[in-house]
C-alpha cells in the first residue's frame, strides 16, 4: 500500500498542476490575511464590534484561520488526482499495474491526506510568520498556546487533508473532470456559503462539508447574522471523513467497476 501511495504522489508531483494550485492558494490566502490585518481593530460598519485589534490576543486565532482558505485548492487537487486518470486514459495503465481497483482508490485517498498535510504546512508557515510579524509589530504579546491557537492549527491540517479526500471521492464518482470541478466549486462557493451563512439553513448547513470544516476550527466569527450553529470539532472531523469514505465506497461500487474501453 505504501508503494501505491508513493506512486500516486509521484503522479501528482511529476505534472505541473500542483505548484500552480499552491501558488494560487498562497495568493488568495495572503489576500484574505491582508484584509484581516488591515481591518483589525476597526469597528464594523453598523457600529458593532468588528475584528479585534492586532495586539488583542483574540486576533491571532482569526489571523491563523486564514490558512483554512486552502481547502478549496486541496479539494480541486483531489478532484484532479482522480479525474485526470480518466481524462488522459492513464487509468488503463494504472489498473494494469494494480488490477485491484479498490486498492487504487485507497492509495489515492492516502496520497490525498499527504497532499493536504503538505499544503497545510506551507500555508501555515506563510500565514503564521505573517501573523507573528503583524502581532509583534503592533506591540502585542505572542501567545501560541492559548486562545484556541493549537486547535486552529490542527483544524487547518485536518480540513485541508479531509477536503483533498472529499475531492478524490467526488472525482471517483463524477469521472468527467470539468463536471467534477464545476460541481466542487459551485458546491463550495455557492451552496455551502448559503447554508453556512443563513441561520435558518444552518440546521442543514452544519451537516455539510463546509460546516464540518468550520466546526473543526470552531470559527464562530459573528458575521452580523448571529453566531453560527456548529457541530463540536470532533464531529466536524468525523463528518468530513464520513463524506470522503461515503463517496469512495459509492464510487467503488459504481464508477470504478465499469469496463475500461
Amino acid at each position: 500500500m505504501i508503494q501505491l501511495i508513493r506512486a500516486e504522489l509521484q503522479k501528482l508531483f511529476t505534472t505541473r498542476i500542483w505548484w500552480a494550485m499552491l501558488i494560487v492558494m498562497l495568493l488568495l490566502t495572503g489576500l484574505s490575511l491582508f484584509f484581516i490585518i488591515f481591518f483589525a481593530g476597526e469597528p464594523a460598519q453598523n457600529g458593532a464590534p468588528g475584528l479585534p485589534a492586532l495586539e488583542d490576543p483574540a486576533w491571532l486565532p482569526i489571523g491563523l484561520s486564514a490558512a483554512s482558505g486552502g481547502t478549496i485548492f486541496t479539494m480541486i487537487l483531489g478532484v484532479i488526482m482522480m479525474t485526470s486518470e480518466y481524462r488522459y486514459q492513464t487509468i488503463t495503465g494504472t489498473f494494469l499495474t494494480t488490477p485491484q481497483r479498490g486498492r487504487v482508490i485507497a492509495a489515492k485517498l492516502g496520497a490525498g491526506v499527504v497532499v493536504g498535510v503538505l499544503f497545510a504546512v506551507v500555508s501555515l508557515l506563510v500565514v503564521g510568520v505573517t501573523c507573528v510579524i503583524a502581532v509583534l509589530a503592533a506591540g502585542g504579546e505572542l501567545d501560541l498556546t492559548g486562545n484556541r491557537v493549537p486547535q486552529i492549527v490542527l483544524g487547518v491540517f485536518a480540513s485541508l487533508a479531509l477536503y483533498a479526500l472529499f475531492g478524490i471521492g467526488l472525482g471517483a464518482l463524477i469521472r468527467n473532470q470539468i463536471a467534477a470541478l464545476i460541481g466542487a466549486i459551485v458546491w463550495a462557493y455557492v451552496i455551502e456559503s448559503i447554508f453556512g451563512a443563513i441561520p435558518a439553513l444552518q440546521v442543514v448547513g452544519k451537516w455539510l462539508p463546509g460546516g464540518g470544516a468550520a466546526a473543526l476550527m470552531s470559527i464562530d466569527v459573528d458575521t452580523g447574522l448571529g453566531a453560527p450553529d456548529l457541530l463540536p470539532a470532533w464531529g466536524g472531523a468525523l463528518l468530513l471523513i464520513g463524506y470522503a469514505v461515503l463517496f469512495a465506497v459509492v464510487a467503488n461500487l459504481t464508477t470504478t467497476r465499469r469496463d475500461i474501453t
Binding site: G93, L96, P99
Partner: protein, 305 residues
Amino acid sequence: MSAIEIRNLSKSFGPVRAVNDVSFTVEAGTVTGYLGPNGAGKTTTLRSLLGLVTPDAGEALVNGQRYTTLAHPLSEVGAVLEATSFHPGRTARNHLRIMCTAAGLPARRADEALETVGLADAAGKRVGGFSLGMRQRLALGSALLGEPKVFILDEPANGLDPAGIQWLRGFLRHLAHERGAAVLVSSHVLSEVEQTVDNVVIIARGRLVRQGTLAELTQNGDTAVRVRTGADFRPALEEAGARVEEVEPGVLRVFGMDTERIGQLALDNRVLLTEVTQERSDLQQVFLELTGDEPAAAVGTEAGR
C-alpha cells in the same frame, strides 16, 4: 497450462455482441496474430484478458489465472493498448518510474526499458510532444518493465513508420523465439503481421472463424494450377481425373493435379502449353474470404476497437 487461454468468452455492449463464444490458446515461445477487421471484437477480447473489461460469460486466463488475481501483474504480462494513454505533461521516464513504484520494481528498469525501445534520448521529454510512433514505443517500454513472459499487444504497429514496423517485427520474434515468451498481437492489417506470426486466430463480427498455423491457413488443399493452351486439353485432363474449370477461352484452372503430372499429360497428348502456373492461395485473399468483409474495411488504417 497455456500462457494465454480464452475459454468461451462472450461480451456484449448494450445490444452489440462484441465477442461471441470465442476460445483459443497461445503457447509460450510463439507469436500469435489475432486478426480481424475493425470492430470484430479484438480489443474487447484483449481487454477482457487484462481485467479491464468484465466478460459476460467464459474466462480469459493468463498463466492459468485471471489477470485481476495476479500478485505481480507487470512481471507476468506486458500489455500495449492504445497509444494515447499518457499524461501529456509528464516525461517518458517519469511515466515508467510511476509504474515501477506502483509495481515494486527498481526505478532503473524505467531507463533500461526506454533504452530497449530506442527512446533513451527522449526520456526527459514531456509525452505531449511525442509522435504517435514514439508513444507506441513508450507503450512497448511500459510492457517490458517487469520482464514478463507473456505479451498482449493491441495494434502495436499503428503509427509506426516502416522502419519502426520492421523493428517491431524483429522484436516480437526475438521475445517469442529467443526468450520463450508467449506473444499475442492483434491487427486488422494482415500484411503487418504476416511475416511475424507463427499462428493466427481470425475473428469476424465477434466470432472466431479460423485458427491454426500460418501454413495451414494458406494450404487449404483446394489450390489450382493455371494452364494456358490453344489446344483442346480439357478432355484429356478430365479423363486423367482432374477437375477443370474454364476461366476464359484457352485458360483452364485444374484442380487435383500437380504441375508435373499436367506436363506429362501434355507431352503424352502432344499439346503445347504456353503457361503452367501453380496458383497460391493468397493470405490476404483467405483473410478477406474468411472475414467476409469489404476489402476497404479490412485493409484500412484506422485502429480497431
